[in-house]
């Protein structure tokens, strides 16, 4: 791991990029410190939610449009664990990991197993259908009444001189780094992870060399659902939850992965950082705040068009 970081620093482009990011951080920190802090927090949330999708889509090529709905379920899980058992939502992350790992396996068996190898459109339609089913099920069981726990630590803050900022959202930063490192270790240091990379690159070849590809798809799907399900409680402490709360994050995660490049987990982190900081910078201006969404998608369209152009040039 350390060796790979050292090797990265030997590459000229990486060093240039790293220096550019540091310069941006310093300039933003001087110009508007809250843009830097809130931008990093926002970026981390985007990355955190997108990473499990990046694992699934980038490594084994499954498009799960119900991704945000699993997060919504995780948030409801933590909410009711708190209301019924008094469990703190952050503690509920642990049982959520186990419950959603099992739920992911069941969901895979019932749904995605049947469209592996089928055209992407089938996966898209299946994911869309699953998203509707999960949303409607919550709507029927818990109603669409918005829910939000009141937790003291969620509005905790720090003051440096006149500048006051929230500290709770740094949990997103820690969680995003944890998930990224965990996934990298899983993919590079475990046999299942390496097998998953092989399946992603060439499923037929992987099968020929004796990898149980059905097992790999099942495990990777279950891990992805377990992680996003466990992110639900962290997300739900800070945000109001309702049956459709995950939909916007599915779309954003999908867009982030498209820009980062399918299969690049660290790319997701960098792209989230660029988009999160850009959004916060635009939002910090009273006159131009309404452009923040347009900038998000304009950046995405720009990068995709640039990539397409580069490919044609080659």
């Amino acid at each position: 791991m350390i060796n790979s970081i050292v090797n990265k620093f030997r590459q000229r482009n990486f060093v240039l990029g790293f220096v550019a990011v540091l310069v941006i951080f310093v300039l933003l920190g001087i110009y508007k410190p809250y843009v830097l802090i809130e931008g990093i927090q926002r970026s981390s949330l985007y990355a955190l939610i997108a990473l499990p999708m990046a694992l699934l889509l980038g490594v084994v090529g499954i498009i799960n449009l119900a991704h945000g709905d699993f997060m919504m379920l995780g948030a409801y899980f933590a909410y009711f664990m708190n209301v019924q058992l008094g469990m703190d939502p952050l503690v509920a992350v642990v049982p959520a990991l186990i419950v959603f790992f099992i739920f992911g396996m069941i969901s895979y068996y019932i749904t995605f197993k049947h469209v592996i190898g089928a055209p992407e459109l089938n996966q898209l339609l299946l994911g869309f259908g699953l998203s509707l089913v999960l949303g409607q099920a919550v709507n029927i069981i818990a109603t669409n009444q918005p829910r939000k726990l009141s937790l003291d630590y969620v509005s905790s803050s720090m003051k440096i001189g006149d500048f006051q900022f929230g500290t709770y959202e740094f949990i997103y930063v820690a969680a995003a780094i944890l998930v990224l490192v965990g996934l990298q270790l899983f993919l590079k240091k475990t046999r299942t992870g390496q097998a998953a990379l092989a399946v992603g690159q060439n499923p037929r070849g992987a099968k020929v060399v004796g990898i149980n590809i059905n097992w790999i798809y099942l495990i990777v799907f279950a891990i992805s659902v377990a992680i996003i399900g466990a992110i639900g409680p962290i997300f739900g402490t800070r945000n109001t939850i309702f049956p459709e709360v995950g939909l916007a994050y599915t779309l954003k995660s999908f867009a982030l992965i498209a820009v980062a490049g399918i299969g690049s987990l660290t790319g997701v982190l960098w792209v989230s950082l660029i988009l999160g900081l850009s959004e916060c910078l635009v939002l910090s201006s009273l006159e131009y705040a309404k452009w923040s969404d347009i900038i998000f998608f304009a950046l995405i369209i720009g990068v995709i068009m640039y990539r397409s152009h580069q490919r044609q040039v080659k």
Partner: protein
């Protein structure tokens, strides 16, 4: 030939007999009222329960014109497409006599083409957007029981003027409005801006993305508000924004002298939030009004008795009023026939549990507008207190909004 004639005669006699026998049954058929409400939402939950309460009370007294009232309710899930489908079903499958209900402006906008197509008498409690009013200009079958956005804003400003006159230490010269970026918030801000600027006060506004639409980070808007240092800060959004907005205000240390929240309803967890102290809001009704209004007390007591619970939003008494106004008009008209019913509705004068008398009059674009007067209320020690109008006030304004570190 003779046999055929005899069979024909017998058949005719049979059908005539059937008609005679069936006629009284038809007369006893229920009067069908079709309601569209968001049943998963607190407003819809209060609405459906209150409508059922009203229908039960009427039916226990023998119904209307010797016929029972039958309430057919469809959940619109606050989605325009579901609302439009619900209206079609009520009109074509259930064949209801009157449309009632409504909540969201967005859903109501989607229902307008269907309402116009069927042209049934509609007594509507939802939709505050002035655009709805414009779209329904000249439709004599449409009766509206909710204030339009511009009416609400004018009344609230009158309220603040009266409060400021009574308590000279309360300032309102600088106002900041954070509004959700959809038509609900944008139109509301436009109307507010006009009124505030006409009073030579200063107002600044900024749109935010509601959590309902994938937003939920309000810190940049709140920071702009903090920099502006307003006398009154108002946010106009949805119930999903209520608690995070307060938490983020606390997080950045923003405590304006008056903090006003203006969602259609408060989320179920808001009453339990320790941050709600001194939050001001606008509403048509709260249970505290039963102390000063007999119809409100009667409604509240009946609701408690039937459901062992309390209504939490003004859509409860408004939905009750909805059914009562329709039933009274049918009784007065002696029929559900459209022209007679419209005439009877126009003569409505009903003392509502909201504490107001409902009488239809003309608004900007429509001829049949009646509404409960909005009130200014405040959360104090986890309970709601009516601050204005002073004649029905149940407490005094807690001013200024306490600093976060002094709670």
């Amino acid at each position: 030939m003779r046999i055929k004639f005899l069979v024909g005669l017998l058949l005719a006699a049979f059908l005539t007999g059937l008609f005679i026998v069936a006629a009284p049954v038809q007369a006893a058929d229920p009067i069908k009222i079709g309601a569209i409400l968001p049943l998963g939402d607190a407003t819809g939950k209060d609405g459906i329960r209150s409508m059922e309460l009203a229908v039960d009370e009427i039916n226990k007294k023998g119904g209307v014109l010797g016929r029972k009232l039958e309430l057919i309710v469809i959940d619109d899930e606050m989605k325009p497409d579901k609302g439009a489908a619900a209206l079609d079903k009520l009109a074509t499958v259930d064949k209801v006599d009157v449309f009632v209900g409504g909540m969201s402006s967005g859903v109501t906008m989607a229902l307008i083409p269907g309402m116009k197509k069927y042209g049934k008498v509609t007594v509507w409690i939802g939709g505050a957007s002035g655009k709805i009013e414009q779209a329904l200009e000249g439709q004599d079958w449409f009766f509206h029981l909710h204030t339009w956005d511009y009416q609400q804003i004018a009344i609230f400003n009158q309220g603040w003027d009266e409060i400021a006159a009574k308590y000279p230490n309360i300032k309102q010269q600088r106002q900041f409005s954070a509004y959700e970026e959809g038509p609900f918030g944008t139109n509301g801000f436009k109307a507010t801006k006009g009124i505030i600027e006409a009073k030579k006060f200063v107002i600044q506004g900024e749109a935010f993305k509601s959590a309902a639409l994938g937003g939920g980070d309000y810190r940049s808007v709140l920071r702009h508000a903090k920099e502006f240092n307003p006398d009154i800060f108002t946010w106009v959004g949805y119930d999903k924004d209520a608690i995070p907005m307060l938490e983020q205000a606390k997080e950045i240390g923003f405590a304006p002298a008056v903090y006003v929240g203006s969602p259609p309803a408060w989320p179920v967890d808001f009453a339990k939030s320790p941050l709600n102290e001194a939050v001001v809001f606008y509403s048509m009704w709260n249970e505290a009004i039963k102390n000063v209004s007999k119809p409100s007390k009667a409604y509240s007591d009946a609701f408690h008795k039937k459901f062992n619970d309390a209504p939490t939003t003004y859509f409860g008494p408004l939905a009750y009023t909805n059914i009562m106004i329709v039933a009274n008009a049918i009784k007065k008209a002696g029929t559900v026939e459209k022209a007679a019913l419209i005439k009877a509705l126009e003569a409505t004068s009903y003392d509502s549990p909201t504490g107001d008398k409902f009488v239809f009059g003309k608004s900007k674009f429509i001829n049949h507008q009646a509404y409960a007067s909005p009130k200014i209320m405040q959360w104090q020690k986890g309970k709601v207190v009516v601050i204005w109008p002073f004649n029905i006030a149940t407490g005094k304004l807690l001013y200024p909004f306490p600093a976060w570190d002094k709670r």
